[in-house]
């Protein structure tokens, strides 16, 4: 209770004992939490479900404010942004045309080599409820839980690359451990040299590279992707790029901006039951392309249209 200082020594002793008990309880909870007991996990899950709407409501004004600040900031650089985007579109068009021809080639080669088809996974997307605001923990809560088929260990991705993996699931929410967290370790490979390694979070902005062969020579800017070793994460998901520190050590800088996460997708291996069939009625099917091409002055059968002009 909110109160003043205790008046007599007896109550003071009682308060002291109670405080000591509280500290002891906290320490026990810390170690029990680390043991990852099912009961503790369930309590955490239940509390996450319970607190999620409250947290979302409390965070909403700050999110809106951040949005306004971002809008004002971007309004000043609209012209430069437009020029940059135009040049990027030009570059992407060139890449797209190259990619489509290479894709065809790849498909033909796969067929020739009789490569086993990869198991197609399904994706479920949820909204991030909390911001990753801890110093010792880097996790995000999303509003998709057991109901949607989310399970512990499933990888979470964004449009830019790997975000992390699911560490706790409750009925309505699930917690994702970000790859920058100190407890996260991801098997990866360097895409240019094909050397496998493990990246570990440090609760900072960069990831530490572990178990990389001494023969490997990482190049600055080299893309790092998941290797799929261990079978938990699928291979080929972007993790980050190699950066060199002042001390000459190599680190991986994640491609994902963790502070700007709004929607996170979880790769689920099984089709979710009772989700789309009962609650989601689906989008309207895509329209079929028209069979004939209409040209100006010609009708559908290709005959010339004679327009009568009236003066």
């Amino acid at each position: 209770m909110v109160s003043g200082k205790p008046s007599n020594t007896k109550s003071f002793k009682g308060v002291k004992n109670f405080n000591f008990l509280l500290i002891l309880l906290c320490l026990i909870l810390v170690f029990l939490g680390k043991l990852d007991l099912i009961a503790i996990r369930n309590i955490k899950g239940f509390l996450s479900d319970f607190l999620a709407p409250v947290t979302y409501a409390f965070n909403k004004p700050v999110k809106e404010m951040v949005g306004v600040f971002e809008d004002v900031k971007s309004a000043g650089s609209l012209r430069e942004e437009n020029i940059r985007l135009k040049s990027e579109v030009r570059k992407l068009r060139v890449i797209n045309s190259k990619a489509s021809s290479q894709e065809l080639e790849l498909l033909e080669l796969r067929e020739l080599l009789k490569v086993l088809p990869e198991k197609k996974s399904q994706i479920i997307t949820g909204r991030a409820i909390t911001a990753p605001g801890g110093i010792f923990a880097n996790t995000v809560l999303i509003n998709a839980g057991k109901d949607y088929g989310v399970k512990i260990g499933q990888p979470a991705i964004s449009s830019l690359g790997l975000v992390g993996y699911v560490v706790n699931v409750s009925l309505k929410t699930s917690r994702i451990l970000l790859i920058i967290d100190i407890n996260s370790m991801i098997p990866v490979y360097l895409t240019s040299s094909n050397w496998p390694a493990v990246v570990q979070g440090q609760s900072g902005k960069l990831l530490k590279i572990k178990f990389l062969s001494t023969k490997a020579k990482p190049v600055e800017g080299e893309v790092v992707q998941t290797s799929g070793h261990g079978g938990r994460l699928p291979s080929g998901i972007n993790v980050g790029k190699i950066v060199k520190s002042f001390s000459g050590k190599y680190y991986v800088k994640p491609t994902v901006e963790f502070q700007r996460l709004t929607y996170i997708s979880i790769i689920i291996n099984k089709k979710p039951e009772n989700v789309y069939s009962t609650t989601f009625h689906g989008f309207a099917p895509l329209q079929k392309p028209e069979q004939s091409i209409k040209l100006k002055g010609l009708n559908l059968s290709g005959k010339r249209i004679i327009e009568s002009t009236e003066d």
Binding site: M1, P132, T139
Partner: protein, 171 residues
């Protein structure tokens, strides 16, 4: 009659505690969501410790350790921290704020806050390192401590200013 008074007193103190709990809970949520701002991308300031210090030292509000425990516990559940780590920090911070007494000078106040905050944070940091068996990157931690210590005099001064204006209006 006396019984009724007792009941009323209990109800009064309970509602006061509840209000304070809600206030602290909102504050801790605000602290988490501050990370959405690009300024606090590296780490967020420890707002709750600043407000708690001002409440204890200036306003004479002495929240109970049970409130501290629950606030810390909920904070840890929300951000996925090791359970009850923040509770220990808050209880330690409150205990040190009550015991460490320096002069009521503004500068001394800042020094006393620095001592209290850093000592309780160091204990938590060591505990976390033992539990995780590894030391995290120090940049966010230094940023967290630095930004909290910078924000403390700003909040303190703004409260002084607010007090001055209210007195001016009343007078």
């Amino acid at each position: 009659m006396i019984k009724d008074n007792n009941l009323l007193h209990i109800f009064y103190s309970f509602s006061r505690s509840l209000l304070f709990f809600i206030f602290l809970f909102y504050l801790i949520n605000l602290q988490i969501s501050l990370s959405l701002f690009s300024l606090f991308e590296t780490a967020t300031p420890n707002l709750i410790s600043i407000i708690l210090y001002i409440c204890i030292k200036r306003l004479g509000i002495n929240p109970s350790n049970t409130i501290m425990f629950f606030i810390g516990f909920f904070h840890d559940v929300m951000i996925g921290n090791n359970l009850a780590i923040t509770s220990i920090f808050l209880i330690l911070f409150k205990f040190l704020s009550e015991t460490v007494i320096l002069d009521k000078n503004n500068q001394e106040e800042w020094i006393s806050f620095t001592i209290i905050f850093i000592s309780s944070f160091v204990i938590i940091f060591i505990l976390n390192s033992i539990i995780n068996l590894s030391i995290p990157e120090l940049t966010p931690i230094f940023f967290h401590i630095g930004i909290t210590l910078i924000l403390f005099p700003i909040i303190n001064m703004s409260m002084h200013f607010f007090n001055f204006v209210t007195r001016l209006i009343k007078g």
